[in-house]
Symmetry: C2
């Protein structure tokens, strides 16, 4: 007998994640493309935990539904009870993992059971996202008329969002249109919007998204039935948010493919997952529509012989803004009003105060005034070493996403400069304090990255591994620019300082030299060049209102991480 040993490494505990949860109450599609199968794949793809309450089992494949069996009301009751007790009601209200209940194919039994829970679900702030599965892509009627009436009257009115496709929306309007007025023909986007508002008033749900997949528009915003025309067609999904009386149009490319089995389930699940993660509704919809499109264009080989499924393993977009097309207008206005993108960022209402705290940080003030106990500075230097190695790695990640070889080259130059900075740090520590990183790492606890350093490095690496060139450069910007401004701030204070404060003469010299580094010509120059390159980057890479918001949030987040880094040293 042959024998062999495979010894596995200990699994890495990082990155650890927290999973919000979505419960999908829907039918099972044995073919895996729709129903709870599509829901689970989608919810998981967005990093969210999926639970199920299966309302019916179907025997189906991409060519159609063959038969189905409904789940008994008693079992649905017990399933909901088991799921909700363990993932919702057992927790304090704000801490429960379960955030959203997504419904697909609902039987009367499931509707009755769900309605029973509504007061408690409301109390816990759980949102109901209801995909009214009335007609499947393959044309079969899955719903149950009695149940549908109950659903409209008692469930839809409590829903956070309902997501019918156009035929479903028409059917729902007919069902609820008590005055029997004729549904007007839709000849424009405005007509479409009006239709959505009318339906929301009938259904009384909080928000309503009507999907335009069955109803493409030309680029002149005229609805068309000529799907084979050679010109580009677009799909417009329309969201009405009743509380804000706000219409949002989601325009996307019409994809000429019949492989869209389960696209409705997938969209509602993707929206649910992103709502569970805390995204605003319009953004959750945008990133979800993009996910459907990725799933539709990323299969090399169709699956099955009917309307094939999407590729649920396609990676979602890195952010909402990156899924939207750019608009020159937005950024030109900003640059005109602010002078430069750098100025726009540091004066942004979200950032301004944090930026001021950072660049006039008490750590720098104390250092400039010789009032910083030296062991705090030493701790800073030790921590900064790790930070700089990580910073160089993330600059390399930026280089790997740079669109031109000139930008790749610029990144290589920056890395060279950072390495010189690391060498200076090392020599400073080694010559003056006999500290050697490699040698002392195991017994000097301060040489290990502390909480502030770890949090900062983790954030940069996350951005570096997931975002594009512009995003990564924005995340790296507060360090470069902040140190230049803080250096200047410190040097100005230093001018009027004469005493040695809490340090020795030698230590005072170290402080002096540290401040001089960040006021030096080469650093000031890097600061100026950095501003210029940010400016040209933001003009050449496609941005839009949402993307700019994301960049602002990133810059702000990193500014806060910089503050925390110095806070930690000061509070030793």
């Amino acid at each position: 007998m042959i024998s062999k040993v495979f010894k596995l490494k200990n699994a890495e505990a990082k990155p650890q994640v927290e999973l919000p949860a979505v419960l999908t109450v829907a039918g099972s599609d044995s073919s895996g493309g729709a129903g709870i199968e599509a829901d689970l794949k989608t919810i998981s793809a967005f990093g969210v935990y999926g639970l199920t309450c299966i309302t019916a089992l179907t025997a189906q494949n991409t060519t159609g539904v063959r038969t189905f069996d409904k789940t008994s009301q008693q079992l649905i009751h017990q399933i909901l009870e088991a799921d909700l007790e363990d993932m919702l009601f057992g927790y304090p209200k704000t801490e429960a993992p379960l955030k959203v209940i997504k419904t697909g194919m609902l039987t009367k039994e499931a509707i009755i059971e769900l309605i029973d829970y509504i007061p408690k679900l409301k109390d816990y702030g759980v949102k109901i996202i209801l995909d009214p599965v009335m007609i499947s892509t393959s044309g079969s009627k899955l719903s149950d008329d009695d149940g549908m009436k109950l659903c409209v009257e008692d469930l839809m009115s409590e829903a956070y969002l309902i997501t019918p496709n156009f035929p479903e929306a028409e059917a729902l309007l007919k069902l609820t249109n008590t005055s029997n007025t004729k549904i007007p023909e839709i000849k424009s986007l405005d007509d479409f919007a009006q239709f959505v508002v009318t339906l929301q008033k009938s259904l009384k749900c909080k928000n309503l998204l009507v999907k335009g997949g069955h109803f493409p528009f030309t680029n002149d915003n005229i609805p068309t039935t000529d799907l084979n025309s050679s010109s580009d067609l677009k799909i417009v999904d329309v969201l009405y948010e009743s509380e804000d009386d706000k219409i949002t149009f989601f325009e996307s490319q019409y994809i000429r493919s019949t492989d869209n089995h389960g696209s409705g389930c997938t969209l509602a699940s993707a929206i649910s997952a992103n709502i569970a993660k805390g995204l605003p509704l319009d953004e959750a919809i945008a990133i979800s529509v993009d996910y459907i499109h990725r799933g539709m264009v990323s299969l090399k080989k169709k699956l099955g012989f009917g309307n094939g499924p999407l590729n649920h393993t396609a990676a979602p977009a890195i952010s909402v803004g990156s899924a939207l097309i750019g608009s020159d207008h937005e950024i030109q206005t900003i640059l005109k009003e602010s002078g430069s993108f750098y100025e726009y960022l540091i004066n942004h209402p979200k950032i301004k105060d944090n930026w001021q705290t950072y660049v006039t940080h008490p750590f720098v003030k104390a250092l400039a005034e010789n009032n910083l106990p030296f062991h705090k500075f030493l701790y800073f230097l030790k921590q900064d070493y790790h930070y700089l190695v990580n910073y160089a790695q993330v600059q390399a990640l930026a280089g790997s996403t740079a669109p031109t070889y000139q930008q790749i080259h610029a990144q290589a130059t920056i890395i060279g400069e950072i390495v010189e900075e690391i060498e200076r740090h090392k020599q400073k520590l080694s010559k003056s304090y006999n500290i050697d990183y490699e040698r002392d790492m195991d017994f000097d606890i301060d040489l290990k990255p502390g909480p502030a350093c770890v949090a900062y490095c983790d954030y940069l690496l996350k951005v570096g591994r997931n975002d594009n060139f512009l995003g990564i450069k924005i995340a790296l910007a507060p360090c470069l620019h902040g140190y230049a401004v803080a250096g200047e701030f410190g040097a100005k204070i230093r001018k009027n300082v004469t005493g040695l404060g809490v340090v020795t003469e030698e230590q005072s010299k170290v402080y002096e030299s540290w401040l001089n580094d960040y006021c030096s010509d080469w650093f000031t120059n890097a600061h100026i060049e950095g501003k210029k390159s940010l400016q040209s980057l933001v003009q050449t890479m496609e941005v839009n209102e949402k993307r700019i918001e994301e960049l602002v949030d990133m810059f702000n987040e990193v500014t806060l991480l910089e503050i925390a880094f110095w806070d930690e040293c000061l509070n030793l």
Copy 2:
């Protein structure tokens, strides 16, 4: 009414993937941690398409199973028929997406239906991976005694793999132990292996994996029940492959956590997904065990109040070898026998012939002999531009994974050199042939990356985005070293060439200078330094037999891509 438009970008069609499929025949766990829910999440996480045949619905959560309803035999029949017709029987035998049927909780009805399909499944080469769900983690009996007997007699004997945990394995042995001999106590790993062999003989399945999760060993290979001892304990899963009479031990860290709800389902699904992707069984198991561990250590906050689920969204290991611990022995033997890792690679049986074809490529021979029509060389230069930009990006990705700042620095230097090479290319083209990349890109089709260039760049980017420093450097190595050797090969031929062949005098000078570049001191030096750094890298980064195999495969793959690159130019 406020109104807003979100315009979505066209979704990127790349990378397109082909999804093999796994059908899971199992119960539904409403809590989402086990059953088909865990199966679908796991199968999708490995980039495989999941179908279902739900044998029973359960109402359960992390604290236990409350009740269940079996699916009727008729519906199971129709589900299997719908699934198999569309994803298996409709296809020519080798092209069907469905590769594996994974079973979990089986009812008698499901067993009967499955047995019916066995001859056809065998005919199509579909593998059955059977996880005998007899006792759930929470202790409830889910199986059905009648069904179990049928299962053992007619289904297990046809299984490609059965994956019981230890209590299940004991129960199965009792069930099939007709001679009524006492099951011997397990006091060592050898006893455990013997137990697995004995059980395989009883069950008659092709391969048997007995999981040791309920049965930890000390590091001295003694089984222990003292789970709270402070010393490290290990779990040993034992695989017996009957055709090769081969035992494999999978040793992994014992994780002190009760949050292992669904770990059995998850493991069997992960193995199924990896078998569907074409991995050998032992490797499929190794990467699956690693995935379970990642899932168990990566949740910041436990879910539910009983035995919590794993984090199925944890990313699987980049490769089997990278999930295994290193062994100094293997690499030392290689280095001793081969002189250097570079020599080992280029003389490896898998690589040797390909390497020779590459470094003595007819493109280089023709060029050296002035027999290369100049338009083919121009095409090469144009294509090489794109390649080099991509090469620089991937060197940056290597830099971002480099463990030390000195290595990051080295990467920055390399990028600088590549950029100089790009500049030389550009100037050559611009001065001699009035070709400008940026200007001409839109109307000179040859300036767009061709199929060979795209395939090569895609491969490098895939490795760069997913592998570690060593892996990326290996993928980048054939270009550096091959051009040095091929340059030397060409220069040697060139010595005896006097005529102008098919080129002009000026063109001949271009060929001369191209060969000189790759025979220059700086390039020869880069070649030597590259070999040294590969050598030290392979000694400092943990490698093992499997990892070395993977590195060999990568080096070979890239060598083939290099050959294809020159082939394309030559066959213009």
